[in-house]
């Protein structure tokens, strides 16, 4: 695409021609102007009454508060010899509405200008975040305008993807295999590289004994956390557990399963209406599991809100099973050994209940596994961190000048 031609994009915030972002000087990580901008954005979002209806936007606003940013900065100490890489081009995902904002924030904190392609799906959250950004850029934070560009354009416009790709230093692609393949067809400059947040697979590991003995308030909180991890985005986020691995056996296992699923059902039932198509999907998934996975059997539940499919073993194909809308595979064993073969490159988040995250991380480290990039407590799988999918985004999106 010719540089002088206007781009067929809608600018939600930032430069009228986002291509000019390519000439913005790189900033040091955690630059004071960036921190000031983000904390003002946080305040603007928290003051917006419309935001209250969107817990994910509120969570993002808290992520950007001054105190939170200082916490994020702490582990990095001072980084006096580092600078952002330049321009980061982000392809935002279509499943989790707020990921575009986290992707943008991480790039800014590392010292980069960004062009974000917002999801082609029209999430209300996109507008709720971009509008205050645009006001801040029009006022006190005008000097950051070249750094904060969010655009939308139809995914079919590969020429636009090519134009932005040709200018960027790093490209961040959120998407499944097909998206990544298509975006990668757009050439990058020789020194530029891709960070891909591909479609992944996640699991919950729960200790049966601990759950069996848990007081009911703690259990309720866990169930609510599990709901947020899964149902909140129709179990379609990569971080959403598809398998629940029970560590345990015997009576305590039965008690734990009974208690946990009843608590999940009680929390989800009034909040998650079952769409007819999801009901059919989940029933189809049960039969698909019956035909492809060992010993798959439905565990009885009062209705179609929670679908549980018990397995006798966990062959590698288990990781290919997917069904949204609250459909869970379950497996139980006195040891974690059966989990190891599933921790391939496809495995992303392991959340835990009744076990410490570090115990599980140590298990993964001992196993020399290729996958499982993070271990979180139940309910925290969607929390964004600057280390994501195994990448430390501050280091990856900045460079060091040796002297």
């Amino acid at each position: 695409m010719n540089r002088s031609e206007p781009l067929p994009v809608t600018v939600l915030c930032g430069l009228a021609d986002p291509r000019e972002a390519a000439s913005a000087p790189a900033l040091p990580p955690f630059d004071s102007r960036v921190l000031a901008f983000l904390s003002d954005l946080s305040a603007a979002l928290l003051a917006d009454r419309r935001v209250k209806a969107f817990p994910d936007v509120t969570t993002f606003a808290f992520f950007c508060r001054r105190a939170s940013l200082e916490n994020l900065r702490k582990p990095y100490g001072t980084l006096p010899d580092r600078l952002g890489r330049g321009l980061v081009f982000h392809i935002a995902p279509g499943n989790v509405p707020m990921n575009f904002a986290y992707s943008l924030t991480a790039a800014l904190l590392a010292g980069n200008a960004s062009i974000v392609k917002a999801s082609s799906r029209e999430f209300e959250q996109t507008g709720l975040v971009c509008a205050p950004i645009e006001s801040l850029l029009a006022g006190a934070h005008a000097s950051l305008r070249p750094y904060v560009n969010v655009v939308s354009y139809p995914r079919e416009r590969q020429d636009v993807t090519e134009a932005f790709s040709a200018l960027c230093d790093v490209r961040v692609i959120w998407g499944g295999d097909e998206t990544i393949r298509r975006v990668r067809q757009a050439a990058l400059p020789p020194r530029a590289f891709d960070i891909t947040f591909a479609d992944r697979w996640s699991a919950l590991v729960a200790d049966a004994q601990a759950v069996a003995e848990m007081d009911s308030q703690t259990l309720r909180t866990a169930a609510q956390g599990f709901y947020n991890d899964t149902y909140l985005f129709d179990q379609n986020a990569c971080t959403a557990p598809r398998l629940v691995y029970w560590l345990g056996e015997g009576v305590s296992l039965e008690t734990a399963q009974e208690r946990f699923w009843r608590a999940v059902w009680e929390y989800a039932q009034p909040r998650y209406p079952i769409d007819p198509v999801v009901a059919v999907d989940k029933r189809t998934a049960l039969y698909r599991a019956a035909l492809t996975l060992p010993g798959a059997r439905r565990s009885p539940m009062p209705d179609n809100v929670v679908t549980r499919i018990r397995l006798d073993a966990l062959p590698p194909e288990t990781a290919d099973f997917r069904c949204g809308g609250g459909c869970f595979l379950e497996f139980a064993s006195p040891t974690l050994d059966a989990l190891t073969p599933l921790l391939t490159q496809k495995a992303q988040t392991i959340s835990v209940l009744g076990i410490s995250p570090s115990a599980l991380r140590d298990f993964a480290l001992r196993g020399g596994v290729r996958g499982a990039d993070r271990v979180t407590p139940i309910g925290r799988t969607l929390d964004f961190a600057l280390v994501w999918d195994g990448y430390d985004l501050i280091y990856t999106l900045s460079r060091r000048i040796a002297a």
Partner: protein
């Protein structure tokens, strides 16, 4: 399982509630047993739901298979040597096709049951027939598309059959006029798929400003309303439009699917779809798959006693509908009658994988 002759001797709309339920429960449970023995996949699916066939007391307790499974898996209950014909159906959901494996017995039952239903609709005599489609659709007899199978199935009830469209799907007006001259004043039977009738017959006549004298015709059409609903064409508008260009005033819709060919649900003169004795419907609540009350919207489950070579006797569709009553339709037919409200809407699926894939 009843022998085919006994099965076919049943009056198409003659069994009332209790009698029909006993018959279907008996027949469908034995079919389930047969499929569980002949089709290991079906046995696994029954096991996955924890179904014990020996405890089934009503056919509603047999777990329905989602129709989509026939697109993903090869499901048959007879050895390959016994296969007679494979029917494929693309449905409306895209590239993957359903494969339905028929042995001789099932294929014969399908066409004979269809004959019984049509006889009760059109009367016994074979009528001069217009197929509103192209003859190209029925060329390959070994590998049938559901569209071709439908045309051939219904063609048995006509005589002196002509195709309204040529190989390029163009309306053959001279051919139709010659046919109608030959059969002036006589009842004419027309058959076609709803969307084809609309786009290639009605719209073409309208565009050409032509009309055809079909006042004595009866059109039987099926295949679903999805495409017409997308164009905001309602069943009422469909009837009205056809009457405008051809004077047709008997237009009967039917509901059926390739997975249960033969035992179709035909519309009566009161506009209700009727379950024939060999089939039935249950409306399921999506929340828990319990049976919906009369008048309550839900997912349509269809059952048929005909599928003997593949486990398609109890199916969960992706259509929504409403039960209107049982044994009480003013047309006098016994059994359940219902209406179809359309395909369930697929909410935009959300996943990491769909930045580009979503259509």
């Amino acid at each position: 399982m009843l022998d085919p002759a006994t099965l076919l001797a049943l009056p198409p709309y003659g069994l009332a509630r209790e009698e029909k339920r006993r018959f279907l429960t008996e027949e469908l449970t034995s079919l389930s047993r047969r499929h569980a023995e002949g089709c290991p996949e079906y046995a696994k699916m029954l096991a996955a739901t924890g179904t014990d066939l020996s405890t089934v007391t009503g056919w509603e307790q047999i777990p329905p298979l989602p129709v989509r499974l026939f697109k993903e898996f090869s499901l048959k209950s007879v050895p390959d040597e016994a296969l007679y014909r494979t029917v494929t159906s693309s449905g409306t959901t895209g590239q993957q096709v359903s494969r339905i494996y028929l042995d001789r017995e099932t294929a014969a039952l399908q066409s004979k049951v269809l004959a019984k239903i049509m006889e009760s609709t059109l009367g016994g005599a074979r009528l001069p027939m217009i197929v509103v489609d192209s003859p190209a659709v029925v060329k390959d007899r070994a590998m049938f598309s559901a569209r071709g199978a439908g045309i051939l199935g219904f063609s048995l009830f006509g005589r002196d059959t002509v195709y309204a469209l040529d190989a390029e799907m163009k309306l053959d007006l001279p051919g139709l006029r010659a046919f109608l001259d030959r059969h002036q004043g006589k009842p004419i039977f027309l058959f076609g798929f709803t969307f084809i009738v609309w786009q290639y017959f009605y719209e073409e006549l309208k565009r050409l400003g032509e009309t055809l004298p079909l006042q004595n015709g009866v059109l039987v059409h099926g295949g679903g309303w999805k495409k017409l609903a997308d164009r905001a064409v309602s069943p009422a508008r469909f009837r009205e439009a056809l009457c405008e260009v051809s004077g047709l005033n008997r237009v009967l819709d039917y509901y059926g699917m390739a997975e249960q060919t033969g035992s179709i649900f035909m519309e009566c003169e009161h506009g209700h779809l009727h379950a024939p004795v060999w089939a039935d419907v249950a409306i399921r609540r999506p929340e828990d798959f319990s049976e919906a009350a009369v008048g309550e919207k839900g997912l349509i489950e269809v059952v048929s006693v005909l599928p003997r070579s593949y486990p398609g006797h109890v199916l969960l569709t992706e259509d929504e509908g409403r039960l209107l009553g049982e044994d009480t339709c003013p047309c006098g037919r016994k059994g359940r009658y219902f209406e179809v409200l359309g395909r369930v809407k697929r909410a935009e699926t959300r996943g990491c994988s769909d930045t580009y894939e979503q259509k």
